[in-house]
């Protein structure tokens, strides 16, 4: 079964999910979006890697999401975090600017990659990288920093998969992703022990 026609929907999925991760203050929505994001990552990685290796990205991403979610369940202090109207609109506008920037830069960046690389792959990877950077730059909360790092790293993996196929790299990237999730859990438990996240 060919999945070539799904590049545009996968790219749109990455835009929507990364935007939800950026904007949502409810950890449930953030984690659902993060986990869904890995479907798009899996799709793009599978364009260049064997299916069995690309699945690692999906499994690891979901494991990271599940590990963070399991820790966050029952953390009452995390609920009800509300933001002002301006506090919501500003990140949304910044996210939109990032997407515009990606559209303008991607054709140039595409020339750096091998010929078979699709523009949607570069678009998707760059969107995640830049949304992740935006997320990290706009927050001081350790948990949200980890979400930003995971998003940024997912974008990098999409781009890197088009230039390097290696089982050791796949294993090391998986270890880094899971390590980031574990550090996220550590940050969350420390934050809630002190009373704020």
């Amino acid at each position: 079964m060919s999945l070539d026609g799904l590049a545009l929907p996968a790219f749109i999925l990455l835009i929507v999910t990364s935007m939800v991760v950026l904007l949502s203050r409810d950890w449930r929505w953030s984690l659902v979006a993060l986990s869904t994001q890995y479907l798009g990552v899996f799709y793009f990685v599978a364009q260049n890697w064997p299916f069995s290796m690309a699945v690692i990205k999906l499994v690891v991403g979901w494991m990271a999401g599940a590990a963070l979610g399991t820790t966050l369940v029952g953390q009452r202090k995390l609920e009800g975090e509300s933001l002002s109207f301006a506090g919501r609109v500003f990140p949304f506008l910044a996210g939109c600017l990032v997407i515009i920037l990606v559209f303008s830069l991607a054709p140039q960046v595409l020339t750096w990659f091998p010929n078979h690389t699709s523009i949607y792959l570069v678009d998707g990877g760059m969107t995640l990288v830049m949304m992740g950077l935006l997320q990290m730059g706009m927050t001081g909360q350790p948990y949200r920093v980890i979400l930003g790092l995971l998003t940024m790293f997912a974008g990098f993996e999409v781009l890197y998969a088009s230039v390097e196929v290696s089982i050791l790299v796949a294993g090391l990237l998986a270890a880094v992703n899971l390590g980031l999730a574990l550090i996220g859990i550590y940050f969350i438990t420390n934050s809630t022990a002190e009373g704020s996240l």
């Binding site: 001081g140 920093v145 990098f156 089982i167 294993g171 940050f187």
Partner: protein, 485 residues
């Protein structure tokens, strides 16, 4: 049996066991010390790829281990450096008996050391970026104690170190393109920019170093000192690996000019900033930045002498930071904070701790008779004497000649070191001022007093007899055949 199994797999298995036993803190610490000291000794004694006889058995330790289709190679040329890393780790673990560290410091610290060694042995060596990242992840729990919210410094540390990974991995891929087509100047420039950004994040190079003082202020000083000795050391060795492997990179003048420019900027800015700090932790952070800047300056000379100075600097840096971090940790256990308003009169109450902090600071600043002096002097001499051949300078050195040219560079470096001296004298003034209680007393317990005294003695010994200690350090660079030729 292969060398990666002996110096990586076996210690890793023991680190996992120690992680499970961390509630027996004292035993775990002693095991960690013995293990790392044993590994250092083995690295000096055991020959690799040479037939050996023991009793009636004849065997050979191979230098390669294959994992998932890739090779980890630990050759005899790498072993002096492995011995050095394990030796430093054993000293640091021993000091943790006196310092206040989390129970996980020994197993996670050991794990960190192993992954950093693995980073230097993996082939293709670019994958080292991922192994260094894993070491960074292992360092987070020891620098962010349980029950305390992760601060700004630790978050930035994690972010910046993680940002280095994509740049370095992409550089690796681009390098193959340059190897195939060396005449492509655009691609070469692109590689240098990507490589520069990767190492700027990894080594916390100007202007990406702002998180270091914040992190030292927030985190336990002793473990932070450990991380700041291990990580930059491996990162610089990783950089040398790049230069050693790629001839075109090694012969590109822009690389050396960039190293010199960033080195000068780091030493100057961090030294001047240190002079204005009001917190002993933050001063340590700026001293770490100055040290990294000096390491870059040693490499920027593109000479065997410069590399020798870099290797010698690793020893003095480790000794100075060990003493400083241990003393600072001792002070933090006794005072609410390390700000200048909190340390009035500590020299009268804790003379050994205070003297250790001041001596370590002055050593890193390059005070005569202390360990840092011979290296600072030789480095300044080397930079002052380095002359650029007409027509062989890069555009970078022309644009930034005010910083890069030998005479002006020396002035800027001296200014940065002067900043550290000012920070030292300012600290001395505050520490020696009369506190609430008049008179002098020795408030340190023997468990703290003995290691501090030994540390101070070592700083003096290296300063007085550098020829006993420093020339031997060049052996750790034996693996870089092309750079040393």
């Amino acid at each position: 049996m292969s060398s990666p199994v002996i110096w990586m797999a076996f210690p890793l298995a023991l680190a996992l066991i120690l992680f499970g036993l961390q509630r027996y803190t004292r035993w775990v610490t002693l095991s960690g010390v013995l293990l790392t000291a044993g590994m250092a000794l083995l690295a000096i004694l055991l020959p690799v790829e040479q037939p050996m006889q023991w009793l009636n058995l004849s065997f050979k330790i191979s230098d390669t281990l294959n994992i998932l289709g890739r090779k980890f190679t630990l050759s005899s040329g790498d072993l002096p450096f492995v011995a050095f890393i394990y030796f430093i780790a054993s000293i640091w673990f021993l000091g943790s008996l006196a310092a206040k560290t989390t129970p996980s410091f020994i197993p996670l610290g050991l794990g960190m050391v192993i992954f950093l060694i693995a980073a230097l042995t993996v082939d293709p060596f670019l994958y080292a970026a991922l192994l260094i990242e894993i070491a960074v992840l292992l360092s987070i729990p020891i620098m962010s104690p349980p029950g305390i919210k992760a601060g700004y410094g630790i978050q930035r540390y994690l972010i910046f170190q993680t940002l280095a990974v994509p740049f370095i991995l992409f550089t690796g891929w681009m390098l193959t393109g340059v190897e195939n087509n060396p005449a492509d100047a655009v691609l070469a420039t692109r590689v240098i920019i990507m490589l520069g950004l990767g190492f700027a994040f990894l080594l916390a190079i100007f202007p990406f170093y702002t998180w270091i003082p914040t992190l030292v202020e927030e985190a336990p000083p002793y473990v932070t000192g450990f991380v700041f000795v291990m990580l930059p050391m491996i990162a610089v060795m990783f950089l040398l690996n790049f230069l050693d492997r790629y001839t075109w990179l090694r012969s590109d003048l822009r690389i050396y000019d960039t190293l010199r420019l960033t080195g000068v900027l780091m030493v100057t800015t961090a030294g001047i900033f240190a002079a204005f700090q009001q917190n002993l932790g933050r001063i340590l952070g700026y001293a770490v930045i100055v040290e990294t800047g000096l390491a870059l300056l040693s490499i920027s000379s593109a000479s065997v002498i410069g590399l020798g100075l870099f290797s010698a600097q690793l020893l003095t840096r480790a000794c100075g930071l060990w003493l400083w971090a241990l003393a600072l940790d001792g002070l933090k256990q006794r005072l609410p904070a390390l700000g200048f308003k909190d340390i009035h009169g500590v020299l009268r109450k804790f003379p050994f701790i205070s003297a250790s902090i001041l001596l370590a600071l002055f050593s890193l600043a390059g005070l005569p008779l202390l360990a840092g002096f011979p290296i600072r002097l030789s480095l300044l001499d080397l930079i002052a004497q380095s002359t650029q051949v007409e027509g062989q300078s890069s555009s970078l050195s022309t644009q930034f000649s005010f910083f890069v040219q030998s005479q002006t560079a020396v002035v800027w470096i001296a200014l940065g070191l002067l900043g550290l001296f000012v920070a030292g004298f300012h600290s001395l003034l505050i520490m020696a001022s009369p506190g609430e209680e008049p008179g002098w007393s020795v408030g340190e317990k023997p468990a703290m007093l003995v290691p501090l005294s030994l540390g101070m003695l070592v700083l003096f010994l290296i300063g007085l007899f550098p020829h006993w200690f420093l020339p031997g350090m060049q052996a750790i660079l034996r693996g870089f055949i092309h750079l040393l030729s």
